[in-house]
Symmetry: C2
Subunit: 342 residues, 2 copies
């Protein structure tokens, strides 16, 4: 504490240590051109005084806040939460904090909104969540505003420094091949909304698997939802009214898959005896509905952690191994899949 009883500042440290405040600043910022003796002397005073640099002052001087932003546009709740967790894990123990910024993808003012936000908050960096992460204009905006960014998504749509991707297409191909291996030939798809790269990749994986197995895919076996439970119910209703009825359905996320199970149950179709279902994400809902859902585990927490590390990694003391940019999803087999009846 200094004379005024307030928190010690860089000036207090400088005075007590008998050096200039610039030297203290150099110690804090690990400048290489410092006498070892000076460094140690100053570090001791810092410890003794319990000095902590003021982030507001640093932000003003550096024109850059020590904040990592999470920019997202209304994907499902569990995903946002998992991403937050991953980011916070990476930020833990650092001086960075996380701010959340939801945006409206469909608003024409979206880019202006984000510009205003980034200019005002002067974020150190941002993590861009799908589907808004697929917007190239947004990425360019970040660069223009000198704000680091990392995009998360289902395909590599930027260079590794700016991207953390999962291999959705291959993961879905494996999942659907598993269905084929169980003997299913009439397999329906509840895909995500148009314009989502994840929806596109997962559909491609679906088609890959059927092509491999020489199974034709009539247009009628594809229904579209928008990643919500309710649209999953609606899409499944269409597919289950078909004749012949599909014996298995792959849904592009767990929420819609839960809707599929719900729709099946409402019309007395047993899962998995009469209908096999596979989802994607492995959110808690997958394990909690009945029957527990076979699904593709999407390592979203790890991906978010990696994304945040890419942003603040340079600030970490030790140079760790570079964060991976491609994450592999794996099939989690639970009870919603069985061989087709008959």
């Amino acid at each position: 504490m200094n004379a005024r009883g307030a928190k010690p500042t860089i000036n207090d440290v400088a005075r007590v240590a008998g050096v200039s405040k610039k030297t203290v600043s150099r110690v804090i910022n690990r400048s290489p051109l410092l006498h070892q003796d000076t460094r140690e002397k100053v570090e001791k005073v810092i410890r003794d005084l319990g000095y902590v640099p003021n982030p507001q002052a640093r932000a003003l001087a550096l024109r850059r806040n020590f904040l990592i932003g999470l920019i997202h546009d209304n994907p499902n709740a569990q995903m946002v939460l998992n991403v937050q967790q991953g980011i916070l894990e990476a930020l833990h123990g650092t001086e960075f904090a996380m701010v959340i910024r939801p945006v409206d993808r469909n608003s024409s003012a979206m880019l202006d909104d984000v510009r205003h936000f980034l200019e005002q908050q002067r974020l150190y960096g941002v993590v861009l969540l799908p589907p808004i992460s697929e917007n190239d204009e947004l990425a360019r905006l970040c660069e223009e505003l000198d704000c680091k960014y990392v995009r998360m998504g289902s395909a590599e749509l930027d260079d590794p420094d700016h991207m953390v991707a999962s291999n959705d297409r291959e993961a879905v191909r494996e999942a659907v091949s598993y269905l084929v291996g169980q003997g299913h030939k009439l397999i329906g798809l509840v895909e995500g909304p148009g314009g989502f790269r994840s929806a596109q990749e997962r559909r491609l994986g679906f088609e890959d698997a059927l092509r491999e197995a020489d199974i034709k895919l009539p247009r009628s076996l594809i229904a579209t939802g928008n990643y919500t439970f309710e649209t999953g119910v609606a899409a499944a209703s269409k597919l289950l009214d078909l004749s012949p009825r599909p014996t298995a359905i792959f849904a592009s996320n767990d929420e819609m898959a839960a809707g599929v199970v719900h729709a099946a149950r409402s019309r007395g179709i047993d899962v998995p005896a009469d209908l096999s279902v596979i989802g994607f994400d492995d959110t808690p809902i997958a394990a909690h509905i009945w029957p527990p859902l076979t699904t593709v585990r999407w390592p979203i927490v790890s991906m978010a952690r990696a994304a945040a590390f890419k942003l603040v990694g340079g600030e970490k003391r030790e140079a760790e191994t570079p964060e991976p940019s491609l994450f592999i999803s794996s099939l989690i087999r639970r009870s919603s899949v069985a061989p087709p009846a008959g």
Copy 2:
């Protein structure tokens, strides 16, 4: 833009408007003692230049950041997300941003962690989520550090300026009375973990209802979980092994209620024919499991919005009606309740 091509500052505005920057500052901060002409002249320049005050500089000068913190300790995911949504709704259009800070309730360093966080980030205010909001030391710490705070919780444990509460006890009493009205006499309780005020309040409401109906509550009809699906399954298993078996179960939150339904189904007990179930929260899972869950709707989003308004309300232009401090929960009747069999 000014000469250097950078963003305009208060100095640019002052220069162009031909006034001192203090006058500009007065316009920004809506000082009452300003000539109307001066105000309008400056406001026009502000618009023309597209001037936006720099939050970092303000933070340094005011020793206070324009950030609202959300401090929580691992309650369920959906609740955290709903609270975030409510806070963001209140902050929308203001200069405030939201930062998330998870803490570890059981860590002895928790208070020091929070102190360090608040001292460093100089938050404008924080929203405290249950169960950590029940910690009085934490509230005192906020006051000591001159950080506004609002506690959210299931009972009024602070004055209205610092509290947004729900009437859990009364809400549960009504829910369980509904069960009684359906003819149930053997009603089990899956309560939340000890030390949670919400768990205590909901249990009290449960007991109120039974007392009103002159129904005895043997200790064996109470099982404890910790608000997760898995503990709901475990607690329900205990209750369903009883003989005679309860014909209805109230669970203190939806996740555990979903676990109860899950456990019942695993042993071939039909819901609601053989077992009625009521949950609490009305999270999405309640509507998505089968059968859709009758539950108590907890207006958490509105509560969070009100909490944030209490924090930043003074900053809003118009003096609106004061934010309410007590929120009323209501019973949502779906399909998981029926009269007892036989």
